[in-house]
Symmetry: C2
Subunit: 120 residues, 2 copies
């Protein structure tokens, strides 16, 4: 398939050196989570073919699955017109991406119901 290629160094990282990374299941197309990467963890992601994030809360490299076994196998990484977001498309090698145990961070762990934002 024809494609445009973009080097990780050409992306726009924020003041903390981070870029938002949307994770989408390549098969179901479900949006699973949004994490953050810096240039180093993005390069590592591309090199090993598994999602590697920067944990903003722990301020450290977060190779997803290294502790839980829930690795994300990466099919490809795309960027947008402004080069300030990446879209990671891949598949779950474990049960789910969420720390709650849910398949997706956008649903509750116990019953998979979505968390809908609605003004009270």
């Amino acid at each position: 398939m024809p494609e445009t290629t973009v080097d990780p160094s050409a992306l726009k990282y924020d003041d903390a050196g981070l870029i938002p990374a949307v994770l989408q299941d390549a098969a179901s197309q479900e949006v699973l989570m949004l994490g953050w990467m810096n240039e180093a963890t993005l390069r590592q992601t591309l090199e090993i073919g598994q999602a590697v994030y920067w944990s903003r809360s722990r301020q450290e490299v977060w190779h997803k699955g290294a502790t839980s076994g829930d690795y994300v196998k990466v099919h490809d990484v795309r960027t947008d017109c402004d080069a300030d977001v990446v879209l990671v498309r891949g598949e779950l090698l474990g049960g789910g991406v969420c720390h709650t145990g849910a398949r997706s961070c956008f649903v509750e762990a116990d019953n998979e119901t979505p968390r809908v934002v609605r003004a009270g």
Copy 2:
């Protein structure tokens, strides 16, 4: 369908008062763009049922489509386990979401090829 509801005031906005908003086509499931909302534009989005962002470059409210006609009709807005991201699911009322004229910000306007990130 059962769901958990979250009030916009319960979300976590960043130091600039913003939250990343992933836009997904509710029919095709394609991820179309990532924009930013503050609490006010998120509430406006919910109220009028169309995507309203905060433009970081122009530092102003950006009712998507008001100039171009390419409005986004919003089906629902979801949030994640940390309540620091929103997932807007909706449909395009115009030709596309990208300022380049493309349907999605993740593809080139002229031939719809993806922009793939790859280390040189």
